[in-house]
Symmetry: D2
Subunit: 288 residues, 4 copies
């Protein structure tokens, strides 16, 4: 969406459908002199669930931003809304977890270092030392925390301390090949984005490109989703596929897949940063 | 969008942006007991133009459908809106114009004869006799009206008489290889859908597949747009492309292009029938 | 590939790799005055398997077509080749099996009735009476053979008799929602083409669009494959996907999926008819 | 194609078609104990032009690599072939030209620094100082050579000297927004790869995303081609498109386009490095 504008506020809402929802919410904005620049509302008719994203300009809005949540609270309560309020202007703070492969990390750094994303990236964490030189090139703190078979809890507590210390809002698993504990995941609900190198639910788990080769599929895929306790089972934010050739070896699939993974992951990060993603059961609605 | 619902009304609105637009419109629906099932609103920041599609359930709405326009009029006037009101339940009446190629016509007939589209198709017009047998198979009136070099006006007046007689709402040019006069087009503004066999604006005019072959492009395209006085220049409703092979001949492009053309055209027809298309300058916003 | 040519012969070969394979085969063609118009050869380095498709012009070739197999036999034997010899000019005979949905059948009829495919379609078989009117429109024999829970064998023997009687080369399962027995399948090895309405191996079996909706995927798929004893497990000929919207209901997925299914199936049929498909283990190489 | 193999030699051939071409070439390889791993041959029937790519293993081949061209010469002469001989194992030397935008450069550096491409990148040239820090991070020489309105010749002679000094095989214009002279281009025939940010031939020249926005297209594209004297007119190596939203502003197109440009450019570079590209008139055949 366009950037030829000032800062905006975003409301993401889901609740049981009933008449008057849109009217009440927009009336709240209008009565306080807000100008709505995007409103996208949709009722899931199978479950009669109301889903909405609303974005309005902060400038001229009569309620100061720190009081908006308080003022909106009664409306939310009246309609039993699950809701989230965000502002477009504050840079979010992101940490990236990697293992040995650099393609997703490089793509993220390309976006952050050029200023395209409104984000700060102070921290890279890995279970291997391989990508330290990449972090150093870009002047970013790199912590190598090996994850031993029986000492995941210990590793995770070090990781969590770093996240807290750096006041991280968003964790990106950029081909970090480790499974996170339920406890870790529950600390950052819908704030940990993973990339899986297949078109889920096909080929979950390890070695999806080998699986794709053996099954003889004609397209490979990549899936970016929020991490949950269920491996490769979280709400999907973005997916895409690429056509492969029948003469391609597994190595070719891996190579072509890298270009796909990085693009899919970066698109998912963008949607998250723009507050476009509404998680809803095991699904997401991405309001573009 | 879902069909697990009763009939709905749709409002498509564009106007200069100002605060209160959404609130006023949704208040109008709410005050008359309407339940909004989809609302998609967006401000084009470059021109500060407000664009909205609003859909609500008719059942329970206190204003009878024949009076909605009257009642909404004052709001529209106050905000200088261009607007259109449609209802989802009445079948629209469609005419199809063809020349000699049958693939788009067959695809349309596949959709209409299976009842997938809420549409009546009483009339097929052609400048050639070739496809009369297709029309006869499906029990549809077929009129062969040759278009002579210097007698287009005569041919068009016969065509217009047929459209009127059959109370046609929508004309589909399904690879009808003739140019329509400005006068003809102006009688059905944004109600004539054409399919052009290229990714416009590349390769306008005749023989686009030959052009694509000679230029050595790696993808071919198809474009469905509303017909206007400018050849291949009307507002685009839908476009898509297909990858071709470097060994493909022009004949291969033609063959692969057919599958693309028919799908792109049918998608554009669907969007039109669902009242999703808002024409806005030379562009469209298709609210899906 | 181009049609600006006379009839051609096609050899499809797979065997363990060794030096001299291409030289020996092309020498055989050349020594008998054959002009090769396409040759595509590839060694699968993981299994050191040689895979080749060779196409040459019949006109001027010194060996009459009925003797080519005999003459080529010794070369094939010497290199332990699995091979198939086909000619481009004879129309193949195709039967289509359907249930209640017409979209794939209509798309096939669009291709056959326009003469685009070099094929004869004398027979449509269904377990339901619903599509008889479609068959009648196009003047094709329609047999309704219900498949009762405990009498599949009986139904299949009637079906097989029809296939034999009509000298069918290729059976197309155009959304025929029944599982065929191993015995049936083994009678037409790599000559039964099925369309499954998902991106296999995701969502095999029944109701894939419901599965796709529940999992919240962002793309739906379709897969055309040769039928084997394993349900939805045969060698894949063609696959494709389409992006869906987050607001789409299951009904929308079904509707969008239909356009995808028919196109994927028709592409697979085309590749088969053009003798482009080499089955090789559980995979195919489609030489385009 | 697979990398589970030793070094290979590649022959790319085009010539007027006649019988015996494949047999003669493959006989040459076979007689000298070469093992062919890929052979892809095709006759363009419209111009009766023979096009072939042949790849064989060097190990065990009886002719030493420096003598292959000499030995093959007589065959080439006899059939009036245009041909090129390449070897897979030597790293090629690449220079990258940029202006101010970093996304394509970053993507190239991601591939080169991870060792994915068999290439050396000793030189980055720009008409602006902006990306010097990027070059420095990766330890690559950066030369800022401003291109003044009336002094292009001077700038180019400095650039050419650098290319020579670094023994550059391939020049990549990674969003280098300057037009090169015919003289410059003719020094590196089919060895200068450009990326244009549109689906050519649509929107050539400056500001293609503005053009796309104004025309209201539904997809944006990117085209990678060899630079020739004709601006945006050289033989296309790779193209792709991405779907945009009707609510996207020009800024959104620019942002989405960047991800497309870098991927299309990197794919084209890969095909060039793998000796897959045969230029043939104004077209290319990319043998994958």
């Amino acid at each position: 969406m366009a950037k030829e504008r000032g800062a905006t506020a975003v409301l993401l809402i889901s609740c049981p459908d009933q008449t008057g929802l849109v009217a009440n919410v927009t009336q709240f904005i209008h009565a306080n002199n807000g100008n709505i620049v995007h409103l996208d509302e949709h009722v899931d008719m199978q479950t009669r669930t109301f889903l909405m994203r609303l974005e309005w300009e902060i400038e001229g809005f009569w309620i100061p931003r720190e009081r908006v949540a308080d003022k909106f609270g009664p409306i939310a309560e009246r309609f039993a809304m699950q809701w989230r309020l965000c502002f477009s202007d504050g840079p979010q703070r992101m940490a990236v977890f990697v293992s040995k492969q650099s393609h997703c990390l490089h793509d993220i750094l390309s976006h952050t270092s050029s200023g395209e994303w409104n984000v700060e990236l102070p921290l890279i964490v890995s279970n291997h030392p391989d990508l330290e030189s990449v972090a150093r090139r870009f002047g970013i703190e790199y912590h190598c925390i090996p994850v031993e078979q029986d000492a995941r809890a210990q590793a995770e507590s070090r990781q969590l301390a770093l996240l807290e210390q750096h006041r991280i809002d968003l964790v990106v698993l950029a081909r970090y090949m480790q499974v996170l504990s339920d406890d870790f995941v529950s600390r950052y609900p819908n704030r940990i984005i993973n990339i899986h190198h297949s078109f889920l639910p096909a080929f979950p788990g390890a070695k999806p490109y080998h699986g794709a080769y053996e099954r003889g599929v004609k397209l490979i895929g990549a899936t970016s989703h929020y991490a949950t306790a269920e491996l490769d089972g979280g709400p999907i934010i973005e997916q895409d596929v690429a056509r492969i050739g029948d003469k391609d070896s597994v190595d070719d699939l891996v190579r072509k897949g890298k270009d796909l993974e990085k693009v899919v992951l970066s698109r998912a990060i963008w949607s998250h940063l723009e507050h476009q993603v509404l998680v809803y059961g095991r699904r997401t609605v991405v309001f573009r």
